[in-house]
């Protein structure tokens, strides 16, 4: 058998364009006659719009038009495509431009179209809006209390939805019976995704064909087209083509349908010229979605021996002033249903209140619900270990779901009928303990304490859910997702034997062109160089739901694999015909169809592709060409897992946290390209560490985003971070034939609690058991002072 490249760290074929400046991101695209749009945003977090005067702005030389919400009254509010399953959702979504009222600072209220961006921005400053400011609330718990300012008539108490999973009664009873109950309020602060490329869109309209072409910074171009045409413009999908060019990172924030994308398309028709809109970083911070922002009260019941018997959680999930595209699904299905973690917890109950506040929309940010769940579960394990004076690794081990229990169904139907596919949680913990030489670290820690130094080690044994599916489970009748979640691929073997694969997923840094080609080259037994992967354009690719939730391998690549099987089946029929052999006597191997036991009597896939394309001599009744499209809807999700360990030193006098070592042992199933997976883990860890220590999206009481720029919002610099030590085990997923699980979010999900637990471990001699993130030097220092031992 030929050498397989599945599993090889081959260099990315995407990179030559990216390292030479040739790659085209949205802002790089120039169309003939293109004009520029700039958006006016509300400076108030909550206000009625009394009137808008655009006259002065219109008079500026070079301004083509100035428009307000009233100019787009015919367009309905944007759809909310994932409402929480099984409960009422009091949904309120943005309009293309708000007409009567704004509910967060940064809401779009007017737009200028001008010959260039400088003129457009000048004119935006000349629009006069008469606002009537209204009372503001930014905290989700406060917003849900009596007397709080009300944001939406259809959402009394600012509650969008009141959702629960698990068993309340049984969990209460188990808490009653527990030897020890630990309670804690835990906040998961608001984060701002901050891909390096902000959002943007370009639109062009053809009056002759009544067709729109829209380029946008999107992780899901097919979904954007569907939502824009069917739900906003009321036109057939066939009248719009959506293209994602090179996208400079997304991390979830570029999944969604935003008002400006629709606005730009509508303007292209109104103005009759192609239009570009590119947000500034300042706009990105106030008007693109944020992530996390939970306040949770937890109660955990345990036996004296460390067996966890019950977990009860109540969470206030801040959804922002108005709903983004899949906002309610994140703190429900992707959060509550993951609260069993890697542990056999027999009783679980979680209630989630989704709350409107006068803040930017909150939706999926890398990990999306799973980091919030993992953070709670892993903080809980350390709080319990501390209470029982047990070693945190042993407490985890004691409660792990054992390796022979898979497929495993978490208790209380918390996963709504799905099962964890495969796992070996002790193996990753053991590997992490070995790599870090845990025992030696504990000795070093003891010695350091004697000399007044505070070292700490933190664990995070995580599970996550990838390749979210099946459609029937996740869809409207189940978890409320307003669509399917299958994925598609087309494989076409051209006359010369060159293969073109088109996918419904959309890479924005993940390297799909390389990894998908690895799968294809191996399956067909052809050179890697003979495979081209195309994507991100609704013209020429099959419908797909896009890239998020670490689904492009676990769902998307499996669609490719399934197509390849059918291509090989047809190749065998043609090969047998060419060899004048019976189909039962031939096999497909190493890029050839040959007669069993006679490898020299063979036809190569290239010869067969030529025959299939020319069609001079095909089996009776067979269609020409090797071409197949697959739509893969998985029978289950996949569940990667791992253990991360972080070692820190905390300076009790300054509160400074220094990460000394970071070790990650992940199991993401089978790995197509280890170099790319490592890269995903590195970046994920950096984002999770950043949540633990630095990043915080902060609103003041009047609803102004005080962390509204890269000056104020602390995404990590290179000097903040250590190099990371990675290791992995490989437990194939039984869910799909590739055995892959997904790797895009694991690092982010795992790392946050590992770091926080390490800091708490360091500070444990001072009696400190919990500090809310981010653990900035100031917060740590204050905790040390308040603890009374700080002097």
């Amino acid at each position: 058998m030929a050498t397989r490249i599945f599993g090889s760290s081959i260099k990315r074929r995407e990179d030559p364009k990216l390292i030479t400046g040739e790659a085209q991101y949205l802002e790089d695209i120039q169309l003939h006659g293109m004009v520029h749009a700039a958006v006016l945003r509300s400076p108030y977090a909550h206000a009625n719009i009394r009137s808008i005067n655009v006259e002065e702005a219109k008079a500026v030389d070079g301004v083509i038009g100035v428009f307000t919400g009233k100019d787009f009254e015919e367009l309905p509010a944007l759809p909310c495509a994932w409402q929480a399953g099984g409960v009422d959702n009091n949904a309120n979504t943005p309009r293309v431009l708000e007409i009567e009222r704004v509910t967060f600072t940064g809401a779009a209220v007017a737009v200028v179209v001008a010959e260039n961006r400088y003129i457009a921005q000048d004119a935006v400053g000349l629009i006069e809006v008469d606002y009537e400011p209204l009372p503001v609330v930014v905290d989700a718990e406060e917003a849900s209390q009596k007397g709080a300012p009300q944001l939406h008539e259809n959402a009394p108490g600012n509650i969008c939805m009141d959702w629960a999973c698990g068993q309340e009664e049984g969990t209460e009873a188990a808490l009653e019976e527990a030897d020890v109950v630990v309670k804690q309020r835990i906040k998961n602060q608001r984060l701002i995704p901050t891909p390096l490329e902000p959002r943007g869109a370009i639109a062009q309209y053809s009056p002759a064909s009544e067709e729109y072409t829209v380029w946008m910074t999107s992780q899901a171009p097919h979904v954007m087209r569907l939502l824009m045409t069917a739900f906003v413009f009321g036109i057939p999908e066939t009248k719009m083509r959506v293209i994602s060019p090179h996208v400079g990172g997304g991390f979830g924030s570029k999944i969604f349908l935003y008002p400006e994308y629709c606005l730009v398309a509508a303007l292209a028709k109104k103005v009759g010229r192609p239009i570009k809109w590119m947000e500034t970083r300042g706009e990105n911070y106030v008007a693109t979605t944020h992530g996390r922002d939970h306040i949770s009260d937890i109660e955990v019941g345990v036996k004296r021996d460390g067996t966890v018997t019950a977990l009860k959680v109540k969470t206030y999930a801040n959804l922002g002033g108005i709903l983004s595209t899949i906002a309610p699904g994140i703190p429900t299905t992707l959060y509550g249903r993951m609260l069993s973690g890697v542990y056999k917890i027999p009783n679980i109950y979680c209630q989630v209140l989704g709350v409107y506040t006068n803040t930017a929309m909150v939706d999926a940010y890398r990990g999306a619900g799973r980091p919030e769940a993992t953070y709670l579960v892993e903080r809980v394990m350390d709080l319990v270990a501390n209470e029982l004076k047990m070693d945190p690794s042993e407490l985890r081990r004691k409660n792990f779901i054992p390796a022979d229990a898979f497929p495993y169904e978490p208790a209380d139907d918390i996963l709504a009928g799905l099962k964890y596919d495969s796992g070996n949680y002790e193996a990753v913990l053991d590997r992490a303990l070995e790599v870090t030489d845990y025992k030696a670290f504990r000795q070093e820690q003891e010695k350091a304490r004697e000399s007044g130094r505070y070292l700490g080690v933190g664990f995070s044994s995580y599970i996550e859910v990838c390749g979210v599916a099946p459609s029937a489970w996740v869809g409207v009748g189940g978890q409320g997702w307003g669509a399917g979640l299958w994925e598609s691929a087309n494989v076409r073997v051209h006359l010369t034997g060159q293969v073109v694969v088109t996918t419904g997923t959309q890479p924005h840094g993940q390297g799909h062109e390389t990894t998908v080609a690895q799968v294809v080259a191996d399956e067909l037994g052809i050179p890697f160089e003979d495979v081209i992967v195309q994507h991100s354009d609704t013209l020429g690719t099959p419908f797909g739901y896009g890239t998020y939730g670490s689904r492009s391998a676990a769902v998307g690549a499996v669609a490719v694999y399934n197509s390849l099987q059918r291509i090989k089946d047809k190749a065998k029929l043609i090969g047998a015909h060419m060899l004048e052999a019976s189909i039962d006597d031939v096999i497909y191997e190493d890029g050839k169809v040959h007669v069993k036991g006679a490898p020299t009597e063979s036809k190569t896939i290239q010869e067969i592709a030529g025959q299939a394309a020319l069609a001079y001599d095909l089996p009776e009744g067979m269609e020409a060409f090797l071409d197949d499209t697959a739509y893969y809807d998985p029978p289950n999700c996949t569940f990667p897992f791992g253990t991360h360990m972080c070692m820190v030193e905390v300076d009790r006098h300054t509160g400074q946290v220094d990460i000394q070592r970071y070790v990650a042992v992940d199991d993401v199933g089978r790995v197509i390209n280890p170099m790319i997976v490592d890269g995903q883990v590195h970046g994920g860890i950096a984002q999770g560490v950043a949540q633990a220590l630095w990043e915080h999206g902060v609103y003041d009481e009047s609803g102004q985003l005080v962390s509204g720029s890269l000056l104020d919002y602390a995404i990590p610099k290179a000097s903040f971070l250590p190099s990371f030590e990675l290791d992995r085990t490989e437990t194939p997923s039984p869910v799909n034939p590739l055995g892959v699980k997904g790797a895009g979010e694991a690092g982010t999900i795992a790392s946050t609690p590992a770091v926080v637990n390490a800091v708490m471990d360091a500070l444990s001699p001072l009696g400190i058991t919990h500090i809310d993130m981010p653990l900035t030097a100031e917060r740590v220092w204050q905790a040390v002072q308040q603890n009374g031992n700080g002097g």
């Binding site: 390292i19 802002e27 000056l711 000097s719």
Partner: protein, 156 residues
């Protein structure tokens, strides 16, 4: 109000008539069509727009085009010579020092400046040398590795 600016970019001389407020990054991207230099923020934090001006790394969003009059500019498009990638481009590719690639041109230009001043840096010196450039994808791990590899390749 417009002024003439003459710049040599990637060894070609250009004279452009510009508004005094035009940023160098917009001159490069829009007047000269060199879109490899990216814009990621509006406060000079992200470094995506870093280019070499008379051999030194500058953030081209913080330089007015008129300030670059008579200057010699190198952008990412000018780094490869006669079809041969620069060792930094090679090493970023080889070591997977990029994912979405948006920060990469700026990262490479900053690394170029760093290595010209310090041909044999420690990891810590590299990390501090990159403090003006943000990357959201890689966690910097492979960027540091790539710059070390390039430094080693240039030295030899």
């Amino acid at each position: 109000m417009s002024r003439n600016v003459t710049v040599t970019v990637n060894q070609s001389e250009h004279t452009c008539e510009v508004e005094p407020r035009l940023l160098l990054v917009h001159l490069l991207r829009e007047n000269l069509g060199l879109t490899g230099t990216n814009i990621g923020c509006d406060t000079s934090q992200c470094g995506s727009c870093t280019v070499l001006m008379d051999g030194q790394a500058v953030k081209s969003c913080t330089v007015l085009a008129v300030q670059a009059d008579e200057a010699n500019i190198t952008t990412i498009e000018g780094l490869a010579q006669e079809g041969e990638l620069h060792p930094l481009q090679e090493s970023f590719w080889e070591k997977h020092g990029l994912q979405c690639g948006f920060c990469t041109p700026g990262m490479i230009m900053t690394a170029h400046d760093l290595l010209s001043r310090n041909p044999d840096p420690t990891d810590t010196e590299i990390r501090h040398g990159l403090d003006g450039n943000l990357c959201r994808c890689t966690g910097y791990h492979n960027i540091v590795t790539a710059i070390q590899a390039a430094a080693s390749s240039i030295r030899s």
